[in-house]
Every structure is written in C-alpha cells, then in structure tokens.
C-alpha cells in the first residue's frame, strides 16, 4: 500500500522513492508536505538532526534526485573554508542550471559576492520558478567558519530574494548551533534512530543470493543480539555483518550442519562475534586481516592488534628514565622518602597508608614534576641495580661540570646541565612518552608529565627486571 502521495509529483516516482527508503516513510512524507509544489515557497531553512547513520544524507539525496528537484549537495567537511564552500555551491549551481554549457571557474571571496553571483546563476529559465535546495551536510562544521556564514545561510531566502531552501544536516542538536546574537530560527526536524526491528529489516534486505532469506535473517538476528547493546550504528553493523558471514556459513559449506540447525550455527558463530567486538570493531585488526584469518582458518585473535605494537625499543637508561618519570608522575611527593631513600626515618605506617580514593592518581591522571625530582628518583632506582654504570654516568657528568665551572660562571653550568639531561629527555618527549607542562622558561626548571599507560610501563619495567608495582603508592 503506497503511503506517500503528493499531487505535485507523479505517483510512479513516489512509489519508487518509497521502495528506496525503508523505515523512513513518515519523515519523507513530512518533507514532501513541507516542500510543497515546485514553484511554491518553502521554509527558508530546515535543520535536520539525528544519530550517526540514521539516513539523513541518504534520504535527502534520494528524495531530491528521485523527484528531480534542482538541488546543490555540499559536504562542509570537504569545503573547510567559506571560500571553498561558496565556490562549490556556485559551481554546482552552474552545472544544474545548464547541462550543456561549459562551467567557467568562479571566484567568490565574500558572502557579498556570493549573493550577487547566486542571483545571476539562478536567473536562468529552469531555476527561476522552482524551489532550489541547498543541502549542507555535516553542518556542524559551519560553526568553525566565520561568524557570519551560518546566520547568512539561515536567511538566504531573504537576502537573495529567490525561492531557495537551505537544508542543514547534522548530528548535533540545534541548541549548540545558535550564535549568541541570535539568528533566523530554522524549522528543526528529527530523524529518529532505527529500532532493533528496523535494523533487522534493513540489514536483512539484501541477502546473498546463494542462501535463503530466512537463513540470512537468522544470522542478522544473532549479530544484533551480540552487538546491539554496544552499537546501533547501521553502517558499523552492516560492515560487521558482511565480514563475519563467511564464518557463519562455514558449517553449512562443510556439511556439518544444514541451514535449519540454528542452535549449532549460533554456537559456532557467537564466540567468533564476541572476539570480533574486541578486534575488528575497535579496528585493532583491519578487516582485510580479519578476512584473511577466516580464510586460512586461523584462531581469531591470534594476530597481534594495533595496540600490541605500541611498545618501542628504548635504550637502557631511557627505560629507567621513563620508569622514574612514571613514578614521579603518579606518586605523591611526600611518599618519595619512604620509597626511594634507603635509611629513611621511622614513618608511622597508619599515617602513610591513609589515602582516599579521590586522591588516587591513577584516577585523576599524572601530575607534573620538576626535573630534579626525576633525577633523584632515577639515581635512586638505577643505583640499586647497576651501580658502576650509573656511577660512570654521573661521574662523567660531574667531571664535565667541574671543568666547565672553572671556565665559566654558574649560569653557564646550569645551562649545560639542562642541555645534557634535556638531550635524553627531549627524545622521550618527541616520542610523546613525556610531555612538557607549561611552555615557560627552559632554564627555569621545566616541568614534565609522563603520558604512558600502566600496561606500557609494566612491560618496560619487566624488560629491566624492575617491579614497578612495589613502588606505586596507589597499589600499596
């Protein structure tokens, strides 16, 4: 039964349109009634919002092309400056007003020129008595452009005095768009999310021809059962469905089960899908790798993901430097004495152990530390294990400093100290394992932060046989 009807458009087109946009009938009929007939005016601006992949772009594009309404479709991510955006609109306008004429390059720097050129472009016969639609996809990018762009597009009908409707598509609600000086309020329209039934219907629409529709629908059902809690993004689900279908069919192909053995198929696929959530869904393993893995019949997840490759080969001292930095970032200063001094005085255990959750640094993130604290910790932890080398390390630098001290003044010496240590530290900073806090004076004690995760630092500590957990206040 046809749901869409409108006197201005041929019924055949509407029927075709309806078959193209499943589960979006009410939105389309709403849009149709708002658009009205071709020569009638419509809203100056329609703002459409909805979730990721709720069919905003698709519905709009199909609607406009099926009914052959004159339109311009621009993605605001592609046109990231106002000039690119305005010129793109004018170019598309030229081609839609005259199919045969060659399109000459347009130059349009300001909105003022845009309005003037726009009027010229619309003056052609076929565009004059029809509503022209300018669809701006990913409209949240308009907020990043000059302040006058968004209000001007909202009032384009008034400014140009032509029959034009601007359609903005975005994931973000209108309240976050409104400029502080106010603007012409658009008509806002919501594209609701697909329910689980809708997703089921859309996903099982184009099933592979070699299997029956019910077989594929059952597969989609299992897939949604695993992923629906986490993800309602149609695109993502469709991608996952395409990737894992081969695995689902495997028992049937091998002849271990037939198409109606739902339970057997489910048992086969479910752990596989759960594995997929940890790997393919997070893009740890690329989809081509995943497919290859299935093809060879390897165990899912035996491949190392992207995040397993993050560890870097560091020199011996850099490892200790990094460990020291981690300890300095995540331990409070008052506990340093207890951890790193051999002959620390008596510390009352109760007092030391007293801590509350709010102050846990693994919850709040790393604290910045000065350079001398880092060095003190470094000497302390290196000293314990590889004393001679550490001595050489420090002796060399002391000797160097002493010489320098004779030659030049104290400032010079401080400068050299900083340079020596900085050479090592900067390499860690460029690897983004450390970061400098506050870009103030380099000489005057720069403060650093350690920006690696606990797992990473544990892996590093393991390579040098250092038990880091023993030294961390949060894990006492």
């Amino acid at each position: 039964m046809p749901n869409l009807e409108h006197p201005a458009y041929p019924a055949a087109d509407l029927l075709r349109l309806e078959s193209l946009v499943p589960c979006r009938e009410s939105q389309v009929s709403m849009l149709l009634s708002i658009f009205g007939e071709r020569q009638q005016f419509s809203f100056p601006c329609i703002f459409i919002y909805g979730h990721t992949s709720s069919g905003k772009t698709y519905v709009m594009q199909t609607l406009l092309t099926t009914l052959q309404l004159p339109h311009v479709f621009v993605n605001c991510v592609e046109c990231f400056t106002s000039r690119l955006l305005l010129e793109e609109i004018l170019i598309q306008l030229q081609s839609c007003s005259s199919g045969t004429e060659q399109t000459s390059p347009v130059r349009c720097d300001t909105l003022n020129d845009f309005v003037r050129l726009f009027k010229q472009a619309v003056a052609s016969q076929e565009l004059q008595d029809q509503t022209l639609y300018i669809v701006l996809d990913r409209a949240e990018q308009l907020r990043e452009m000059e302040a006058n762009i968004l209000p001007a597009f909202l009032r384009l009908q008034e400014l140009t005095d032509r029959n034009v409707t601007v359609v903005l598509l975005s994931e973000i609600v209108w309240e976050l768009f409104r400029p502080n000086m106010g603007c012409f309020e658009p008509f806002t329209m919501y594209f609701p999310d697909y329910s689980i039934g809708h997703l089921q219907k859309i996903l099982s629409q184009n099933h592979p021809p070699e299997y029956s529709a019910d077989f594929y629908a059952a597969y989609i059902n299992i897939l949604l059962g695993v992923f629906y809690m986490v993800c309602r993004d149609l695109k993502e689900l469709r991608h996952l469905a395409a990737l894992n279908f081969a695995k689902y069919c495997e028992p049937v192909v091998r002849g271990e089960a037939n198409e109606r053995d739902t339970r057997k198929l489910w048992k086969n696929i479910e752990p596989h899908l759960k594995k997929a959530m940890q790997t393919v869904y997070l893009r740890e393993i690329s989809s081509s790798q995943w497919e290859r893995l299935q093809h060879v019949g390897g165990e899912a997840g035996q491949l190392k993901g992207l995040s397993a490759h993050t560890h870097v080969e560091l020199p011996y001292y850099s490892k200790f430097l990094l460990i020291a930095a981690y300890l300095a970032s995540y331990n409070p200063v008052r506990t340093d004495k207890r951890f790193f001094l051999k002959h620390h005085g008596k510390i009352r255990k109760t007092n030391f152990m007293k801590k509350h959750e709010k102050t846990s640094n693994h919850l709040l993130g790393p604290k910045p530390f000065p350079l001398d604290r880092l060095l003190a910790i470094l000497y302390s932890i290196v000293d314990n294990r590889v004393a001679p080398t550490a001595n050489i390390f420090s002796q060399v630098s002391v000797y160097l400093l002493f010489n320098l001290f004779l030659v030049s003044g104290i400032h010079q010496v401080l400068n050299v100290i900083c340079k020596l240590i900085n050479a090592k530290i900067t390499s860690l900073v460029t690897l983004q394992l450390l970061s400098v806090v506050g870009q103030n004076d380099q000489l005057d004690g720069p403060r650093y932060k350690c920006t690696v995760s606990l797992d990473f630092i544990r892996a590093i500590a393991r390579t040098v046989n250092f038990d880091i957990i023993k030294y961390l206040y949060d894990f006492l």
């Binding site: 009634s33 309020e185 959530m277 709040l364 790393p366």
Partner: protein, 506 residues
C-alpha cells in the same frame, strides 16, 4: 489524478498522526463535494498553499501591521521629510528578533512609493534585500549614461525628476568597510561601475563616494536612503569609518542622506565611538511585541484567513469560516497560549502555522485543531531527549555514571577513568543483564558521546594529553536524563534502578 476515494487520514502513515478529530461540519461536506469537482478543488488548494507559504515563509510586505501604528507613523513622517524636503536624518529601529523591523521598513517604503507627491521623486533601487524592480533599474542606468556622459553625480535633479535612492546593506554580507563601500558604489550605479563590477581601490572608492556626495546640496540632489540591516555588525568595523562618514554626511549640508539602522541590540549606543555617537541624531524607534493574548488570537485569525481577492469565493468563505471556528476552539487556544507564553514573536507563530498549513491537501482541505496540535508537538520537542533516546545501552550506562559523579562530587569535572570506575562498580555489584565490556569498547562509546557533544571537554584536547585523563563536563541535567530513561525502549531493569539510586549504594 490520483484516486480520490482515499480517506483523509491516509495522507500520512497512521503511526505519525493521531486519529484526526473532525469537529467541523464543513470538512465532511467538502469531502462529499470533492468527488464532483476535484479538479477545481485541487486548484484552490494549491492556491491556498501558495498564499499561505508566501505569507509565512517569504515575508512579503502584505497584509496589516500589528501593534506598531505609532512607530509606523513616526518612520513614514521621517522618510517623507527626507524625500519631499530633502532633510538629512538618522534613526535606529531597535527590537528583538522577529519583532517586525524589516516588515515595518518595507511597509513604510511601499506606502511611500504609493503616495503621489513622493512617487514623482522616487527611484527604486532596491538592493540586496528585495528584488530590484527591473524597469526602474534600467531607467536608472539609462539615466547614468544619458545624464552626464563622463561623470554622473549622485541623483542629479535637473536631468529628470527627483529620485530617491536606497542602498540596502546587511552586516552579514558586508563584513568590512571595503566590501560595504564597493556595494554602495555598485548599488548607486556610479561611474566606476561597469555591469555589476566595481573598479578601484578602497581609498579611491571612498574618495569618489565622498566627493560625489559633497557636490550635491539640499535642494538640487536626490536624497539617498541608506538602510543598514544588522547595524550592530557594522559597529565592529575598524574605526567605524563607514558609520562615521555616513553620519557625518547626514549632519552637514551635502547631499541629503538618511541612515536607518536595524538592530536587535538594546545597548547599541554604547558600542558607538564617541565621535560617531555625537553625529547620530539619537532618534530611536523601539519595536516591542506589545500585545496581549486576545490580540494574539486576532493575529492568528488574520494570518490564516484568505484574502478577498481569492478566485474561488465559496472556498474562501468556507476556509475563513473554518478559521473563525478554529480561533474559538479550546484546544487551539491551548496550543496558542502555550506558544504565547513561550515567545511572543510572530515568527514562531508563522512557523507553527506553516507547519500546520502544509498538512492541507485535496483529501484534507480544511485545517483542524489536530493539525495545529501535531504541529505544536513537532515544534516543541526536546532535542536532547531525542538524541538520548537513540543511544545504545552502554552509552546510557556511561551517562548514568556521569550523572552519579556529578551528584557525588557536586558538579566537578570528571574524566573517562572516573566514569569507567563508576561503571565497573555497577557491573561488579549490581548488573545481571550485562557482561563485562572491555575498556577500549567503553572508550569507543565514550567518544561517541563526545562526538554528539553530550559531553564537552573543558579544554581543547591536544595531541599530547592522554584521552582517558581529559577533564569533561556533562551537558545534560539529571531531570533530563531521568525523563529520557522513562521513554527509553527496552531499558534493562537494573540499569533503571541504578539510575534512580545515586548516593544510596556507594
């Protein structure tokens, strides 16, 4: 023609619309008539749509002004003095958005054009705002060429009748003085304009314009009316050069110039520089939406009625009767009252009426109260609640965790790690319906919330900072969350319970 026997409610899927109440007899009558003369009816429906759409969407200067008679008289008098006597003036029209500033000006200009003594002195060069009246522009161009050969003075009186010129500038389009000046030169059709291109640098243009203006005098030159839309944006130009020059000319005995500024800022005079302010005449016309609900109903009726010159008289009669009925209907009045309490500006009324009006089709020829109710429902939905409705269960759980954090720590900003900890506590102690998600999966859900801007970082995230320790704040308040949870489809019970209990289980 499509089959005409469809019931009227089949226009949209039944799921969208509530069963339509049909309080009015005429609707049923017209449906019967429909079978006899559907072609004629389709014609008039299309006419109705055309008229209403032009009225609501494309605000043309038709119909009546509401509650601004005094301001209208004031402005008309002012502009008449400019055109007839060659007085220079300046004025600001101040009012909130959608209070009819542009409409007022358009009305005054239209009525000015109709007056006999003014029409003789008037040349429409409608620029930027409204469509240029083609013949007039050509007249102007001819005038330029025939007039002086080389140099064309602004509005030379002895050549022809006295005309008024009217450049229309909008602060949105002319974002700096250079662009504004070029636009003025172009709109005045001065000699350095070829086609619609303007030549010369900024300094040349300014010197040229000032010289042209200085040459004129009160008796012989044609007056110019400058309309500055979004006046407050012109204030931010460098040194306010354009404003200074315009006001300066309006103060001295040069070509008669009237400057009308339209703005919605009440503190506009504070933004002017001292020298600019001293040259401004301090004439302000305030447009406040000063009408009560009774008048609002009247406006509603007036806006929705068909004009007398509607071709199908019987249909117009029927339509207007229906509108009369509607305005007395209780449910309609409730809808309007709600809107009136929300905002008094007529633009949102237009939006509502347009939305209701677009539902009118051949099968459903007359507006009903249900149409208006539906439009009002469309108009006043909470968009944040809509967005929350479409989130996955995991994302909802994260939002609840954030809500708890907000309540426990009294609105302090939080980071992902804290939210994750809170969520972990829930999983370990309470949840039965949920298995444990890995941290990266939760992170992905969190980033989706960030992308939807339901959560906002306190500072711009840099490359260096770790994602899990970035401080955030939640842009939803707890009542919004609870309401959204009420309507959330298939929400697990333990999640609901967890949302309701914030401090009790800590």
């Amino acid at each position: 023609m499509r089959p005409t026997t469809r019931p009227s409610s089949a226009r949209a899927p039944a799921s969208l619309r509530e069963p339509r109440i049909q309080p009015m007899k005429p609707s049923a009558v017209s449906k019967r008539k429909l079978k006899e003369s559907s072609a004629e009816s389709a014609e008039s429906i299309s006419q109705v749509q055309k008229i209403l759409r032009e009225r609501f969407c494309h605000h043309c200067a038709a119909g009546k002004l509401f509650g601004m008679e005094q301001q209208y008289r004031h402005l008309l008098e002012l502009l008449k003095r400019t055109t007839v006597h060659g007085e220079s003036n300046s004025a600001l029209i101040i009012g909130p958005r959608g209070s009819g500033k542009t409409t007022l000006l358009n009305h005054v200009l239209k009525d000015l054009r109709e007056m006999k003594q003014v029409r003789e002195n008037l040349l429409e060069v409608h620029l930027n705002g409204k469509a240029p009246v083609q013949s007039d522009v050509q007249k102007g161009k001819k005038l330029c060429k025939a007039g002086k050969g080389g140099k064309f003075l602004v509005g030379e009186k002895d050549n022809c009748q006295l005309f008024m010129r009217n450049p229309f500038l909008s602060g949105l389009l002319q974002t700096n003085d250079k662009v504004a000046l070029k636009e003025i030169t172009r709109q005045l059709q001065l000699e350095n304009v070829v086609g619609d291109k303007v030549f010369g640098s900024f300094a040349e243009n300014l010197a040229f314009l000032l010289e042209a203006l200085r040459k004129g005098d009160r008796t012989s030159s044609c007056p110019i009316l400058f309309v500055l839309d979004e006046f407050d944006l012109f204030v931010h130009h460098k040194n306010q050069t354009l404003l200074y020059n315009l006001f300066d000319i309006s103060q001295s005995a040069q070509t008669p110039v009237t400057v009308i500024g339209l703005t919605c800022r009440q503190d506009i005079l504070e933004l002017l520089e001292k020298r600019v302010k001293s040259r401004f005449s301090h004439r302000q016309i305030y447009l406040m939406n000063s009408f009560d609900f009774k008048q609002y109903i009247k406006i509603f009726k007036k806006q929705l009625s068909l004009p007398d010159e509607f071709p199908d008289e019987s249909f117009a009669q029927k339509w207007n009767n229906n509108v009369q009925h509607l305005s007395e209907d209780k449910t309609v009045q409730d809808v309007l009252q709600k809107l009136f309490h929300h905002t008094k500006d007529l633009r949102s009324l237009h939006l509502l009426l347009m939305l209701a009006g677009s539902a009118v089709t051949v099968h459903h020829p007359l507006l009903t109260a249900a149409d208006l109710q539906e439009a009002s429902r469309q108009h006043s939905t909470d968009c944040k609640a809509n967005i929350v409705h479409g989130l996955s269960v995991l994302e909802i759980c994260l939002i609840i965790a954030m809500k708890h954090l907000n309540e426990v720590y009294d609105g302090e900003p939080f980071n992902f790690q804290m939210v994750y900890n809170e969520f972990q506590k829930f999983i370990q102690r309470k949840a039965h319906s949920m298995y444990n998600f890995e941290k990266p999966v939760v992170m992905k859900a969190f980033e989706h919330l960030l992308q939807l801007e339901l959560v906002q970082p306190l500072e711009r995230p840099s490359v260096r900072a770790q994602r899990e320790y970035l401080l955030m704040k939640l842009l939803l308040d707890s009542s919004q969350i609870m309401e959204a949870l009420q309507v959330y489809p298939n929400c697990p019970t333990d999640v609901k319970q967890w949302a309701a209990s914030s401090l009790s289980w800590l």
